[in-house]
Symmetry: D2
Subunit: 308 residues, 4 copies
Amino acid sequence: MAFDAGATGVYPIAPTPFLEDGSVDFHSLDRLIDFYQASGASGVTILGILGEAAKLASEESRAITRRVIARTDIPVVVGVSAPGFAGMRLLAREAMDAGAAGVMMGPAQHLRTDEQILAWFANAVEAIGETTPWVLQDYPLALTCQLSVPIIAAIMEAHPSCVMLKAEDWPGLEKISALRRLQAVGTLRPFSILTANGGMFLDLEYWRGTNGSMTGYAFPDMLVDLYRLQAAGERDAAHDLFDAHLPLIRYEQQPGIGLAVRKHVLMRRGLIKSDALRRPGSRLSPAAIDEVGYLLVRLARKDSRAKP
Amino acid sequence: MAFDAGATGVYPIAPTPFLEDGSVDFHSLDRLIDFYQASGASGVTILGILGEAAKLASEESRAITRRVIARTDIPVVVGVSAPGFAGMRLLAREAMDAGAAGVMMGPAQHLRTDEQILAWFANAVEAIGETTPWVLQDYPLALTCQLSVPIIAAIMEAHPSCVMLKAEDWPGLEKISALRRLQAVGTLRPFSILTANGGMFLDLEYWRGTNGSMTGYAFPDMLVDLYRLQAAGERDAAHDLFDAHLPLIRYEQQPGIGLAVRKHVLMRRGLIKSDALRRPGSRLSPAAIDEVGYLLVRLARKDSRAKP
Amino acid sequence: MAFDAGATGVYPIAPTPFLEDGSVDFHSLDRLIDFYQASGASGVTILGILGEAAKLASEESRAITRRVIARTDIPVVVGVSAPGFAGMRLLAREAMDAGAAGVMMGPAQHLRTDEQILAWFANAVEAIGETTPWVLQDYPLALTCQLSVPIIAAIMEAHPSCVMLKAEDWPGLEKISALRRLQAVGTLRPFSILTANGGMFLDLEYWRGTNGSMTGYAFPDMLVDLYRLQAAGERDAAHDLFDAHLPLIRYEQQPGIGLAVRKHVLMRRGLIKSDALRRPGSRLSPAAIDEVGYLLVRLARKDSRAKP
Amino acid sequence: MAFDAGATGVYPIAPTPFLEDGSVDFHSLDRLIDFYQASGASGVTILGILGEAAKLASEESRAITRRVIARTDIPVVVGVSAPGFAGMRLLAREAMDAGAAGVMMGPAQHLRTDEQILAWFANAVEAIGETTPWVLQDYPLALTCQLSVPIIAAIMEAHPSCVMLKAEDWPGLEKISALRRLQAVGTLRPFSILTANGGMFLDLEYWRGTNGSMTGYAFPDMLVDLYRLQAAGERDAAHDLFDAHLPLIRYEQQPGIGLAVRKHVLMRRGLIKSDALRRPGSRLSPAAIDEVGYLLVRLARKDSRAKP
């Protein structure tokens, strides 16, 4: 599987598993990565926001990168967000030296005008290396910077090394259509669009022209099934599968605590040992655990993977 | 039905119907208000964000207020957000003089610290009148100001005229539980909590202690059914009903374009004549209309109210 | 004096004087407007942020507009900021019907991308009327929206009715130079640039290409002198005058409390009767009054207008 | 000189000098640090925003810290801002192990409510070590988080290891008075308050109760003189000195480009070899260099240190 402008399928965003004492749980990481590959994922993304990247010491980030790349055959994309270009340069070089397929970055929080955004990405691409393949993360809800369709097009034209858009603007459906229209008439070069935003619109995004998903939902195996149904044109079946999972998808997509939900479900599924987060993250309350349990029981009636 | 700290049930947020030429469509407004009452709504809220309040001339706002109050027997709550206290004073006086049950207001956008927030509400309550019953809108995603549990408690203690919390923080489940815990141990006085946020968590919020909902979902009749099932302890049936609607609820809850979706569905249901919005709002794209239609077809299999 | 793209000189931003009981003090308003004209102001701007416009009832705003226009021979510019286009349409029509020379507006707070900004101004200009002369206020510190040089140029090209830029970005010197360069090579049409930002950079802005100032400093007579010295090429004398006032200019330019300082100084100068503000504004503390008094004593050594 | 709650005088914020090729210029750094000490500074702060900390690789930060501490006898405070607690823990440990007197940190950008702020500082203090002396940076204009007087008091009470407030809120004079009043009546423990904000209010802050300054103005020697005049009660002389420098202080205090101005002036003073910044920073335009030159010529008439 290639990580390029033609990439398709599912790239799960991997959380970083911790042991109860807060150290990185490499055994769970191995199990998780193996599960992604076995589930049919086209690639995997590590050290994003969901991976608690900002809570890791740089040695830990490097160790995780090397471990994952050594473990799996599918392309590994590494998040390289950092407060400055020096940090991004370092992270990108380490990732690519370790064998990553590419890196991921989103715009810095303070960027507002189109002029500022284009200048920032010029510096950022210089920092990660002009030939390093990268994913543009468009996630205004978390990153605060808003990217319009014209500015995404301008970034893509200025930087041929960008091979993929991680589309998680909200609302985002018209944006996907607008980009695909520009490509259809030839005024914008081709690139892959994978969607995220917790997967909240996966049932509809495919028909707008996306190539798959890059999100951290705790049932990545369902994401692969969903993509295959869509690619096969099985629209109703795809919706049925999606609708069964939507109550849980919606629950996982809560800002801030969503990661605790995901880790908890992954733990219940036996994929990681502990649902511990590093501070300032916290675990689920007893009431939340009950809610997740109830949603899983309901889901299990339609998808046996949710059975305890 | 009383609008006080013991209020329960469903208070739909009413959109303002317009004709194709942009003028207020009072006939559709009548039909909509009649439908709310006939559906079993406990009250109705007008001139909120969803009601395009900021796009109305003051004469129009007054006319709408008088029309709705004259039309219905259920309590009418009127949004009084304005850039300054003078505007809020005027709007609140007009609403109460016209016979409103109370008013609704959320914190100004620039407020940050607890000190600023408490001072602002002291001024705001003085402006609307110390005895005017009001709803506190907690909606950080749209209003940007964040209200912690301690500051909500402080506002409630400082202002006995606040009878209701419109809870639409996201995530919001733990916040509801925390407020109810304070009330259970007697350190916080009682008040009603209705939830909004497009209804995205209505299946779970009731069991956290809410008293109903105040949201603009285009099936307010379903919201009443849902509340009744929950109040009757029919948890599974309530979830089944909710799950059937969730794909559409999710589609309506998209920031910005959500109102266009709601007006479109209300028009398809025959409740308003046109789905026109005032600028800068715009109507749905053909692709979005197709998606809504498809979601309604799927919904109709489980809830006949969605049939064309 | 004409209010058009060739406008020059000083347009003071007028505060709205209140009596101790909070009502509008029309006698002080007359005195203030007379003083502006007698001081050599080229025009006057009313109902801006400094004019506490958001704290006025609409009847008060109309009364102030009519009073000022009837009182003075110089062009009157009226702020028309409002939460929606309906409000802006109404305010602009009332102002122009009353005989205003033009209106002033800045971008709405939520605007981010170039695409959003251009679309918003298209709607706003349609609302105020395509032929109504207007001032573009560029004030990111207060309005949060940032306007780059390319987007200002695009607004100016799209809307020939915009005759003036109220430049108060910070930093702003390079921005003025960049706009003037575009005009020098003929890729941007001519328009007037008056600077504000409390006057903090008036000593330097003129030489970057500005045509005067539009700010609320409590010595508008000094602003006129400064402009005349600059226009006469008396750079050192202009700096000497500016430097004498800078400690007070700096004190007045404090966000939030700056208006209280200005009203206090205007009261001490005998130009308004009371330094009262409407809520949430508050008066100066005793310590601040002492500081202002001390700064005035020091200023009086160099400019006798500051004498008690 | 001790770095504790009784600290007084001037702690310059040191820029990081670079050579033309972008590498750290350790010789200039030595010269600069020597100059601070020779000028009578009570301490020095490195690796703050002004020190371009986010643009340094971690090895560079460590090398700078060790170099400065080895070079000087005065207390060295080290900025430890980082995106997560893991990074802060590492930076603080490295700084203290190298012999720093303490560390500096400001609140993370996303913090809003009092509850969030207190929880964040509890985690942050745990990360840097409960006994590590630290400076609380209150700089809303750059950090966006606003700290009210009650929340600063709460932080100070919760964390005895905080010995100093770097006060750079704007406006900030009333805040200083309010904190000193709380201390005067014994409801708040003592701590040092040094002011920053580019030094824009240094003439007035001392009389509100501050103990000196911690800012990066390119004439730290003047800051020491100013403090001595104030401490000696020479108010008029202090103001005369301040007023002479205010036009340049104001020019340096421009957001974003202020650092370029400072490096340029330090270079003209012979204190650093090059005025190079790392990206995204850029050097001054020719017009700006002319303006700085002109302001220095004017300043030199009153303070010979500004002579070329």
